[in-house]
Each structure stands twice: as C-alpha cells, then as structure tokens.
C-alpha cells in the first residue's frame, strides 16, 4: 500500500471532517506528474485546531485547498460532517463550500484592491445570504467590530489604506461572515511582524471560542503552530510523518524530521548553543521522482536499507501520538505491526 496508514484516525463521535487517502497530482509536462500530496489521512474533531507543518513544497497548502475541492483531489475522500465533498459537483458543491472558508497568506493581495472594505466583507452575503443591503451591512459591521476594525471608518476605504495586520483582520471578517464550520488558515501570519502576528493569533483564539470554530492552521513556523494547535500533523513531500497532540509532539518528537524542524527553529536566547555543524544540503527531493521507501531517507542520518525498500506506516507511540518511521526516536507500542511484517 502506498499510503502511510490510518492508525491515527480516531473515529470520534464529534468528528467534523475526515480526510482519507488524499492524493493530489498535477501534470508537470513531458508526461510527468508532480505528486503534491500522496495519500494522507487525518480527522478533525469539532472545535479542535489541527496544525499542518512542513517545509515549502511538502504539500500542506495543497492539502488545505484539496479539502475545499480547489481543485478537487485526484483521489481520496473528504468527508465534512457526513457529506462526501469529492462526490459533489456544481451547485451542490458550491453550497457546501460555504461551511469551509479560507484565510490566505498575503493579506493585501487577497483583498480586491479596487473594492471598498464594506463590499469586500459583504460579498459572501451577497452571494449566499440576504440581498437586503441594510441587513448585509448590519452583519458586516458586527463582524468588522468583532475583528477590531471600526466599521464606520472602514466601510468606504480600500485595502491599500490599511496595514498588513488590518488587512488580515478584514479577510478574517470576510471568512467569518457566512458563519462557516471550519476555517482553513493558510500561513495567515507569516507575512506579518511578530507584534502583529501575536495580535492576530490571540484574536483567532478569541474568535474560535466566540463562534465555536474548527481551525486547520497551515504554517511553517513551529512555535506559532504549537501555540494555536491542539493537534499537529507534520508533512514531508506529500506524506504524513507524525501526528500528535501538540505539547507531546514538541516534548518528545518521534520522527527524525520533526526533530530536525524543532532543532532548526531559532530560539530567542543567546545562551542556547547553536548547532553549527548543520551545513547546507541538497534540500527537498523532487516530488516528480520522490525517493523510494521512506521519502525522508535522503536527508535522514538514521536511514538504513529498510528505509529504502519499505515505506513506513503510521504506528502508535501513545494514544494520541503516531509516527511513520522505521527507526523512531521514541519507542512505539508493541502491538503495532513491525516494519518487517509490513514488507510482507
């Protein structure tokens, strides 16, 4: 089996979204295909925040978009609250999408520069909600207030009149105005200064509590992801490496790639020694021809022949901690299948 297993799916009663065996391929010309996402599975409970981390090119944004069917995945299933999104087309799909909204990385370019803020935030309502202008504005102004923007002054202004942090607040208001169940945040703070980043992160936590939201938080900054997420999934080259409750993941990373990410994060303390032996390497292998077996093996110091031949499956470390590695850094539970058994 090409996937990395589903041992980590919890089958909870309050699961809001389940993604299984998600595969997204793009044509790369000359008959080649880029396998951006190669069979990942995860589930999200209602009110939970799932963090997706990994380097650029690992497929985390593609995963977020495939959940919205933008574009629809090549294969696999995306089940939102009992509705199979991949089976829907046209109008039915459009109406389901109102329950999934997205916040993008660059706040300024994700707002139409020629539209006034009042229109930008009201647009989802114009399409899906009411056609009554006063009702629209009542809702929009309440939403703008909720994200800390003064509705009266903002209404007739355009995006360029606002700072990056304010634009991100406005795009959050736009995402919230239809009262979606899930918000997919694709690197929402990586274009912002640390001080503004802290404001937006605090605000997302407040809004999540206020609206009972479920968040998918895609980012490359581990500290940011840890701060906001209940559960974190680490991705590498279209595959899932490790899934865990977030405090545990950071305390005891089981996958060498997770450890590499954690060790690379700069720590604002001059007394912490920096590992200066880390020298530039080739970086991420091509997703057109990914390495056989474990995809991380080309950069892993623990890699053996087994890693080259057999793709690791997700195995249980503790109840809410799973790792796909033949040589995990912490012991996996005995009842998991052994790599040798998986090979047969």
């Amino acid at each position: 089996m090409a996937g990395t297993g589903k041992a980590h799916l919890r089958g909870l009663d309050n699961t809001i979204l389940t993604v299984e065996d998600l595969v997204v391929k793009f044509p790369a010309g000359r008959g080649q295909t880029v396998k951006a996402v190669s069979g990942i599975s995860f589930d999200i409970a209602k009110g939970e925040t799932l963090g997706l981390v990994g380097e650029s090119g690992c497929g985390k944004s593609t995963t977020g978009r495939a959940m919205l069917q933008l574009p629809p995945p090549t294969s696999g299933s995306v089940n939102l609250d009992g509705v199979e999104l991949t089976a829907l087309r046209g109008e039915q799909l459009r109406s389901q999408r109102t329950q999934l909204q997205m916040i993008f990385q660059d706040p300024i370019s994700s707002l139409n520069p020629r539209r006034m803020i009042g229109e930008v935030v009201a647009e989802p309502l114009r399409v899906w909600g009411t056609s009554d202008k006063d009702e629209q504005w009542a809702k929009v102004s309440r939403m703008l207030e909720d994200v800390g923007i003064d509705p009266q002054t903002a209404r007739y202004k355009r995006p360029h009149e606002f700072s990056g942090g304010q634009c991100q607040r406005i795009s959050i208001a736009r995402a919230l105005v239809l009262e979606p169940k899930i918000i997919i945040c694709d690197e929402p703070v990586s274009a912002l200064d640390v001080s503004v980043q802290a404001q937006i992160l605090n605000m997302l936590e407040e809004l999540k509590a206020q609206f009972g939201l479920t968040l998918v938080f895609i980012a490359h900054d581990l500290a940011v992801v840890k701060n906001i997420s209940d559960r974190v999934a680490v991705m590498y080259l279209g595959k899932m490496c490790e899934v865990s409750e977030s405090d545990r993941l950071y305390a005891e990373p089981a996958h060498p790639y997770t450890k590499l990410l954690l060790d690379s994060a700069p720590i604002p303390d001059p007394l912490v020694d920096i590992d200066e032996t880390v020298a530039p390497d080739e970086g991420l292998p091509s997703p057109i021809n990914p390495p056989s077996g474990c995809r991380f093996r080309t950069r892993c110091s623990n890699a053996t022949e087994l890693c080259e031949q057999v793709e690791p499956q997700l195995r249980k470390v503790t109840d809410d901690h799973f790792v796909a590695c033949h040589h995990p850094l912490v012991p996996v539970t005995a009842d998991s299948p052994t790599p040798a058994a998986a090979a047969q």
Binding site: N202, S229, P266, I267, P268, V272, D273, A279, L284
Partner: protein
C-alpha cells in the same frame, strides 16, 4: 588564490579598531504628504570582525539604515545627512561613480528575496563573474574558476554544473546561497545581510545562517545582520541595536541585552514571540497599537503611545541614549524596565486603566482597538495636579 586573498593585497589594513563609524545619520524621503523620517539620527561604531544585529518591526528604518550606510539610496527623493566613516573614508557626499569601486570590494549586501535580487534571465555563472571581472580585472577563464570556487565555498553541490543554470532552476535556499556567493565574490570587508532568511524555511534558515557565520570567520568579515526576528540574532551576533521609528532605542552586547533589557519596546518585542517551550494555547503578549507615522511622529518618545509604562514626561520630552551600568549597553527611555520608577509607572497606569497597560497585562481583548494612551495618561496627570492644587 581565492578572491578573498586577492582582496587583502589591495587593502592594506589600517590600525584603527573601528571599521565603520556612523554619526547622526539621517535619511529623509521627500514625498507629497511630507517628509518621511525613515532614519533619524543614528550613531554607532563597528569593530572589525564583529557582527551587529539590527532588529525592529517593518517600517522601523532598519533596511533604510543599512542601505544608507552603503549609500544605495542616493537618488530620487532621498536625502541623507550625517556621517558614515568607513575606514577613514567619508561616504556621505560621495557620488555613485566614486562609490562604485567600493560596492562589492569593500562592502556588499545580501538581500531578502533571492528570487528578485537575482536577474532571472542571466545564468548564475555570469552574475557571479560579472563582479569579479569588473573589480579584479581577471580573465574570463580565471573568473570562471573563481566563480566555481565561490559556489563550492557556499556549499552548492556540483558547482560546475550549476554554474550554467538560471535562478529559476534552483530552490530558494540554493538561490540565497548564490546571492551570498555574489556578495562575497570580491572579498568585502563588511557584509550587510538584510533579512537574508526571512523568505526561507526554518531548516534552510539554519543552514544559511551557519553558512554566513563560517564565511564571516574564514574571511574575518564584519557583518550587519538586519532582521525582525530576535531569535535569529540571539545566538549569532556580538551586539544588537533595536530600532524604532528610525532611531536606535537600545543597543547592547547580545548577552547583556537579553539578560537586562532596558527598553519597553525590546521587552515587548521579545514577549510577543511565540515560544516552543510554552504550552499550547498560551496567550501571547502582543504589542498594543501600531508603529508610528514617520511623517508626523509623536512628540516625546515615539514608542509612548504603545508603551505600558508611558508617563506624562514620555509624551513631552524625547529620551536620548544613555549608558547603562553594563559596559556598552545604552538605552533611550525615561522609565527603563527593571527600575523602581518603571514599576511605579506600571502600577499607576494599571490603576488608571491606560489601554496600552491593560493590553500588556492581558486584560484587553485582541479585537479591541487601542485608543489614545496619551489622553488617558495626561488626563490623570491633570486630575492629580488639580488635587495637589486644592490641597
């Protein structure tokens, strides 16, 4: 002979310890709306072989400062005054023609975005050798040999093959290594790195910062590392200058800065960074409000409208850099962090419900706008003054 060795011959070393002395440097941009004081009176000196970190939010003037020192923003509406003394040569007032011989050989810069700083339609080999051919007047073959040598020194695998590739064929980390190679080509004595790793992944960031460190040690270069990330400068600089609204508000040896920081802005900047060691869902200490308008900066201390410790004096008089007990540590604040006056100011503001102070205490929602700290602080000064008069 590597390019670095070529350089040492053409540059007899001087006796002075300070390679760079910047004095009261100001860069103002004349725009329709007024004068943007992007850099407004910055002074410091830099010793040979050391690394200075310049830290601040976007719009604090850190990038304009580094470009002003190199005199890269000479044209258009920019007016630079003050003095930049590089190894005995005064750079302010020199024409671009005169500066041309210094760019690359004496001082060089690595820019933030390797995709836009490299020419997309020129092979990387030519972008590296262009420098070598111009400054060192070497033959084409010799330039190629040196260029491949440089690519190897920045750890580019198969440098001979990469020499003939275009920037788009390389990954972001690889491209940044190429721009470092270009900056190092003629063996500069000062390397400016302007947010060199902001566009890169954490793993690549770690590699690139290590690479810069190795190169600096090998070549005994002086380095100015400009970044918004205190995490990046913490372990990799000798000294840090914190900038706010075009001015240095605190400057100290790195360890001293983190041990006994004095300026409320430095404190706030450090507190707003999410830390891996915190448990999940830890509330972050965001800095209230927004950076100031540089056309009409606030009177007094420019950080005062966002400062949890601001008092009436802060809105009236501008603090200047004063030395701390720690050698080399300077700060510009009337109520420095850690002092008794600072604690008093905080308690007073908290009692008076000054918004910036409430925000710092975590008592304000992130969705609430910070309004007019100044009016709140001054209102209470007036009422206290009235009480005094009545008694």
């Amino acid at each position: 002979m590597t390019p670095a060795e070529t350089m040492t011959q053409t540059n007899p070393s001087s006796n002075s310890d300070s390679l760079l002395v910047v004095d009261d440097l100001r860069t103002h941009f004349h725009v329709d709306a007024g004068i943007v004081k992007a850099v407004d009176g910055v002074s410091f000196s830099l010793e040979r072989g050391t690394t200075l970190g310049i830290v601040g939010e976007s719009g604090s003037g850190k990038t304009v400062l580094s470009r002003s020192i190199m005199r890269l923003n000479t044209g258009g509406n920019a007016v630079t005054t003050g003095s930049v003394n590089y190894d005995g040569t005064e750079l302010v007032g020199l024409e671009p023609k005169q500066l041309k011989s210094m760019w690359g050989t004496e001082m060089a810069m690595v820019f933030q975005d390797p995709m836009t700083s490299l020419n997309p339609v020129v092979k990387i080999g030519r972008q590296i050798t262009e420098h070598l051919r111009f400054h060192l007047a070497v033959s084409r073959q010799e330039a190629k040999r040196l260029g491949i040598e440089l690519l190897r020194s920045v750890r580019i695998p198969e440098p001979e093959a990469r020499f003939n590739t275009y920037p788009h064929q390389l990954s972001g980390g690889m491209r940044q290594r190429v721009s470092i190679a270009i900056a190092l080509a003629c063996g500069p004595r000062i390397l400016f790195a302007d947010e060199p790793t902001t566009a890169l992944d954490v793993t690549v960031q770690h590699q690139i910062l290590n690479l810069l460190r190795f190169q600096q040690r090998d070549r005994f270069m002086t380095m100015i590392l400009v970044t918004h990330d205190l995490g990046v400068v913490a372990g990799r600089t000798d000294e840090i200058a914190v900038m706010y609204a075009g001015k240095i508000v605190e400057k100290a040896p790195t360890k001293s800065l983190f041990r006994t920081l004095k300026h409320p802005y430095t404190e706030a900047l450090l507190a707003s960074i999410p830390k891996v060691s915190n448990p999940k869902h830890t509330r972050l200490d965001a800095i209230a409000g927004r950076p100031p308008d540089l056309i009409n900066p606030p009177t007094g201390c420019s950080f005062s409208p966002r400062c949890p410790y601001a008092q009436a004096k802060c809105f009236e008089q501008e603090p200047t850099l004063v030395p701390d007990a720690d050698p080399g540590h300077q700060f510009a604040c009337w109520y420095p962090v850690g002092s008794a006056e600072n604690a008093e100011a905080y308690e007073r503001n908290l009692a008076n419900e000054v918004p910036a102070t409430l925000a710092a205490a975590g008592r304000l929602l992130a969705t609430e706008e910070i309004v007019d700290t100044e009016a709140m602080v001054l209102a209470h000064v007036d009422s206290e003054g009235d009480k005094g008069a009545m008694n």
